[in-house]
Amino acid sequence: MNHTLTKSVAAYLTLPLVALALFTFGSASGGDSAIGATRIVQATAAIAAMTAPVLAGIGAWEASRIRRSNLDSLGVARTQLEVVRRSLAPTIFAGWFVTLVIQLARARAFPSSLPLLLEFLLPYLIVVSATLAGFALGQRLHGAFAIPVAVVGTWLLTVYPIAIEPLWIRHLTGYTTSCCSVETVLSWRAVTGAAMVALGIAVAGALLASTREALRVFAAAVGLGLVLAAASYLVSDLGSEATQARPTTDLECVQEEASGVELCLWPEHKQLRGMIDQASDEIRTSLARRQLAPPAKLTEGFTSSEAWIFGTYRDATSSEIDTALVVGLLPELPPCIELGEYPAGVVTGVMALVVADYAGKPEAFALMASEDDVIEAERVLELSEAKQTIWFESNIAAIATCDTNPVMARDLS
Amino acid sequence: MTISPVFDNVSFKYRRNSVLHAFSHEFGAGSTLLLGPNGAGKSTLLQLAAGVLAPREGTVVVDGASSTDRAERGRYLSTVGFMPQRISAMPGLSVREQVAYVGWLKGKERSDAWDDSWDALGYAGLQGLADRAANRLSGGELRRVGIAQTLIMKPGVVLLDEPTVGLDPIEHARFQDVLDELRGSVNFIVSTHQAEDVSNNFDHVAVLADGTLRFSGSVAEFFSRADPSQPKLLSAYTNVIGAQ
């Protein structure tokens, strides 16, 4: 076995691969998820896009070595599968080692959900499938062509799907780039689909590598086709992202008995509770002077349309929290705005500035607002309270539809 | 002048491994069996004699022409025929085309190379396979293609590197017949690691081990090295190899 290891090309490439992968992905930011979902997914993407093509090339190289040695003419006693296993063991172990190093370098904690556990194990399967697929290719094509086809082909099959439609096809490769924000989790269907494809390729590769019998080759092709169909069905209603909304049961909610106000935050943001409490109290007090009362429940994540919903991130400053809370007070834009004209579009920015003023946080949109919106907002705020109420209620209604003209300040002055 | 390779103080090494060091020897006329264990330097010696390799030091001369002298190298290569250990079947070429190609490489005009290839195939007993694709020959047939490639130039000396390795008894015997036909018309040196190849059909025996010549002489002189109580061939060989 020692001799085999020292003769395998994989033994010499392991450390350079580890160095390259760590250098590429070791320092990339991990996003906002403390359970390391993003980092685990990025590690898998690194292995799929960078390590797998190299392993496929090594598999093709090993196959061409065996072809050159003309083993078929020697009356070999061992089965072809044993020969393949022995030949590829160093490559697969090297790939697993690289995978483990990358994962240990990036993951902050052990995966705490089943999809993440599957995602953690997925690259080990990708290593096996890439190596076997490269080997099967190397048995059938001369090494001069097999090696570049294995390397470039594996890379293309991994990264190209993110550039084509249908959108779900990208979820079959393990090369996920869209996970995860604090409000989303990895879809188990995306991980399972990618794992099914990897397993199918591994089994087909092993079959093709171990035999030239037409029936078995046909069985490998049919089997792989069925697996691809099943995996495609599993992911076909996923959009461009391999994520789904995070369960709101993860939210940590605290209710003040005196006021009945409830604040629900994701666990990753619990250190912001004090700042959010204070800011929301200030906003409620300011709005109360205008006889406006936001919902009692302030929450991240969507729990019901009656709640005051906002979104923030772990390192948010107090002004960013202010902005996030005020955004949560704004009316939602209707879906029809993407289909055609939206007359109320001219007042959405103005409404944001007015609401920010009512909430006692006039600086919330100071840097984002256009000059025209600022001027119109000033005109609105100069109107009498009664006219402001008319402006506010009319435009709240107008913003919610696509066929209602808004009320401008000049219409009321 | 005998057309045989003359090594004068030749040294050669592969990267850091020295194979020959200050090697000097003049091969005699007639047929020489170059004997020696694996790794002795037999193939290197023949490749140097064939002009495939260039000595790091010293010279190899055949018929007054040096293998490394630019002006003389063409005449040198025309005088020496070489059959390497491994004969490659060239893709896309028939047996006759492959032999003719070697003739063309050696400087013959295309038409002459084509005509002479037929004679060369005749020497090797391959005229019946002339039109077959070279990559569809058996191992023994490919070896005979190697012989034909060597003879197309009617060289003054023929070098054969382990020509009978892997041949079945029939092909082995057939190959020996080819060598028997060559005897007397051309000098040749045959290298082998198989002591069984020693026979009275050779004029000389040279034994190489670890890059040095342990014995050079007639077959009778070689056998005289054997212990009387031991099998003659193996004993002579072992005594020569083991001798300091």
């Binding site: 390259l20 090696i147 890379w155 | 490749q47 893709p91 490489l105």
Partner: protein, 197 residues
């Protein structure tokens, strides 16, 4: 010379050239994301970086079953013949890149320039490491150029010539030097690696 050329699989070479031209027209202008060390965001890599490897693979294949030991004993000077295939493929790569780029307005000129550099690398690898290293050496250069040499904004590292835009003079210079070195090595007597000894 006809036998010399026949032994180098002309049919395979023609098929490889045809496939290369087809890919060049259809895919030559496509770009794909490739992870980059220097910038965490994905830089895009034109497929023209990888397409010319097909011609290098064909060149390697054509050399693979030739009896280099027999050719080493040739009286005829073969140094010029040894340039025929590389220069023939070079002509195909450059002319096709010019024509397709002019017709489509795409970046196919990159493929032609990259082939120049790759050919030099392949010929050097052939001399020092043997024929099996030709394609691998080119793959290593092309494969590392993206992760180590690409940047999301601005020009790639100067050595990452496969990624440079078609009009890049430094890249053209590097490719020219590599080609000159490779062709010069090709004209020499075969090395031990090339002879398979």
């Amino acid at each position: 010379m006809k036998w010399w050329f026949t032994a180098r699989r002309p049919l395979m070479l023609a098929q490889a050239v045809a496939a290369y031209l087809a890919f060049l027209v259809v895919l030559g202008g496509a770009e794909l994301p490739l992870p980059s060390i220097l910038d965490p965001g994905a830089a895009s890599t034109p497929l023209s970086v990888f397409l010319p490897i097909l011609l290098i693979a064909a060149l390697q294949r054509s050399q693979d079953e030739v009896d280099h030991v027999v050719e080493a004993t040739a009286v005829r000077p073969l140094w010029l013949l040894r340039l025929v295939l590389p220069c023939g493929l070079l002509t195909v790569a450059i002319v096709s890149a010019l024509v397709v780029a002019a017709a489509t307005g795409g970046d196919q000129l990159m493929a032609g320039r990259n082939f120049v550099g790759y050919l030099g690398i392949a010929l050097l690898a052939y001399r020092w490491l043997g024929s099996r290293a030709m394609t691998v050496a080119v793959l290593v250069v092309a494969g590392l150029a993206g992760p180590l040499g690409a940047r999301q904004f601005g020009e790639p590292e100067i050595w990452a010539f496969p990624l440079h835009r078609p009009g890049s003079l430094p890249a053209a210079g590097i490719c020219g030097v590599l080609l000159a070195l490779g062709l010069a090595q090709s004209m020499r007597k075969p090395s031990l690696r090339q002879l398979g000894i």
